[in-house]
């Protein structure tokens, strides 16, 4: 079995206008840079993007926003992107803000075949408006639904030709859950090895969840807020 494709351009083959994508990353940490750049070049439009954040104005998903390729975002925090806030307040962009833990669990559940579940987050707030609620153990909970996507795009540290993935440090974040929730999951990796070279004890995402994998190039890995110790 070999799931390797040449590059991001080949990996996004078959994507169409109006589809739903999941994109891993937290802020700019662990984002699939190569695939995002290929999406910008593709000119695909009317996309729904499920991603915890929306990048910054000139990097990450901000690049897709700037070209108005995204119709709707499902995110938990979008504070580092002025263009996003502008499009949101002007009504150009539809945005569904979801509590971060609920978002992560909706993605995990979607990938795990769980259609819906109850969580306490957001009960009594505008997040709970119009949602079914129910009391468990004396506490109110909201019914939330699992999420899936036409394509999930994740970034891992190491991968093998069968699609097994290992993430690095906090660059895992949403990638691991999203890898499970794509009808087609694309993984871009910094190190690509033949099957058998990764230690099976260390695999985060088993290859069954991944359909296409490629070796990414030219990672910028931009740091959003570089903070250092006072000497």
């Amino acid at each position: 079995m070999n799931k390797v494709v040449k590059n991001a351009k080949e990996a996004i083959k078959g994507m169409r206008d109006g589809q739903t994508f999941m994109l891993g990353g937290f802020g700019l940490c662990g984002i699939p840079e190569n695939t995002i750049n290929a999406l910008v070049e593709s000119g695909l439009t009317n996309l729904t993007c499920i991603s915890n954040n929306a990048g910054v104005d000139d990097f990450g998903l901000g690049l897709l926003l700037k070209k108005h390729q995204i119709r709707k975002m499902i995110s938990s925090y979008v504070g580092e992107n002025k263009e996003f806030e502008r499009q949101l307040l002007s009504g150009e962009l539809e945005v569904d803000l979801v509590p971060q833990g609920t978002l992560a669990e909706r993605i995990r559940a979607g990938g795990a075949g769980i259609p819906a579940f109850y969580v306490p987050a957001g009960y009594g707030t505008e997040v709970g408006e119009g949602k079914e609620s129910r009391e468990f153990n004396g506490k109110m909970h909201l019914l939330e639904y699992g999420l899936t996507a036409d394509f999930a795009v994740v970034k891992a540290w190491k991968g093998d030709t069968m699609g097994n993935l290992i993430y690095r440090e906090t660059a895992n974040n949403f990638n691991q859950a999203m890898a499970m929730a794509g009808k087609i999951t694309i993984a871009e990796v910094e190190i690509l090895v033949p099957a058998g070279e990764l230690n099976p004890n260390e695999i985060h995402t088993p290859g069954i969840f991944v359909q296409r994998i490629f070796l990414g190039t030219n990672y910028e890995k931009r740091i959003e807020f570089e903070t250092v110790r006072e000497s």
Binding site: L89, N172, F225
Partner: protein, 218 residues
């Protein structure tokens, strides 16, 4: 005199207990990490997938794959662990975090909190705040007592969109330590040199005052 940000953080650090797993929000709460008493061990959780946050890296050693929930570069302590977002919120939602400290726009005497949205002006999103306040066993709000226009932030009702209801247990402000009880706000401590009268005047809800109110011991 009212406390500065570091003073608020220092007072909150006195609430930490040995062995606590703690989630610190962005802003003043992050500063609490600088005042952890030396004789206790506290493990800091970052909801983007890290247990055991260490100090900021030395100059030139920042790792783009290693950040906290405020997207700042950090390091790890010995015994730290990485994990994905869904597992991170299993820790939070499952009640495994002993203490959450976060900032707020408004807090009510029922323990309701608003902290994430100013309609028409600022929409950044709630991030993990709604998950944290809905599940944490113990929630302390770190805030100034009044906003920049001098209006009380401690009130009977939140005017801004809510982050959570009936969840805040304690407020540490630049003026006071106030508990949120079944009967409403209860004044516990005053900032050094701040009078009970000043605190009551700057609080937008009734405050229970019983006996002499001690000054904070900083």
């Amino acid at each position: 005199m009212s406390l500065d940000k570091n003073g608020i953080a220092k007072r909150i650090a006195q609430e930490l207990k040995d062995g606590y797993y703690v989630n610190l929000g962005i802003g003043i709460p992050t500063l609490v990490a600088n005042f952890v008493p030396e004789n206790i061990e506290v493990i800091l959780q970052s909801e983007n997938g890290l247990l055991g946050i260490g100090p900021f890296p030395e100059k030139g050693k920042a790792d783009p794959d290693l950040i906290n929930a405020g997207k700042q570069t950090v390091t790890t302590i010995p015994g730290s662990a990485f994990f994905d977002s869904s597992l991170s919120f299993a820790m939070i939602r499952g009640g495994h975090i002993d203490l959450t400290v976060l900032g707020a726009f408004e807090v009510t005497d029922k323990g309701d909190i608003s902290s994430w949205k100013i309609p028409g002006k600022m929409v950044k999103g709630m991030g993990g705040a709604m998950d944290l306040v809905a599940a944490a066993k113990n929630i302390i709000v770190a805030t100034t007592h009044t906003d920049r226009h001098g209006k009380p932030k401690l009130k009977t009702k939140c005017d801004l969109p809510l982050t959570g209801i009936r969840c805040v247990k304690k407020i540490v402000s630049d003026l006071a330590v106030i508990d949120v009880t079944d009967k409403g706000f209860k004044l516990m401590e005053r900032a050094p040199g701040v009078s009970v009268e000043e605190i009551l005047e700057k609080t937008g809800a009734p405050v229970i005052v019983e006996g002499d109110i001690p000054e904070m011991n900083l």
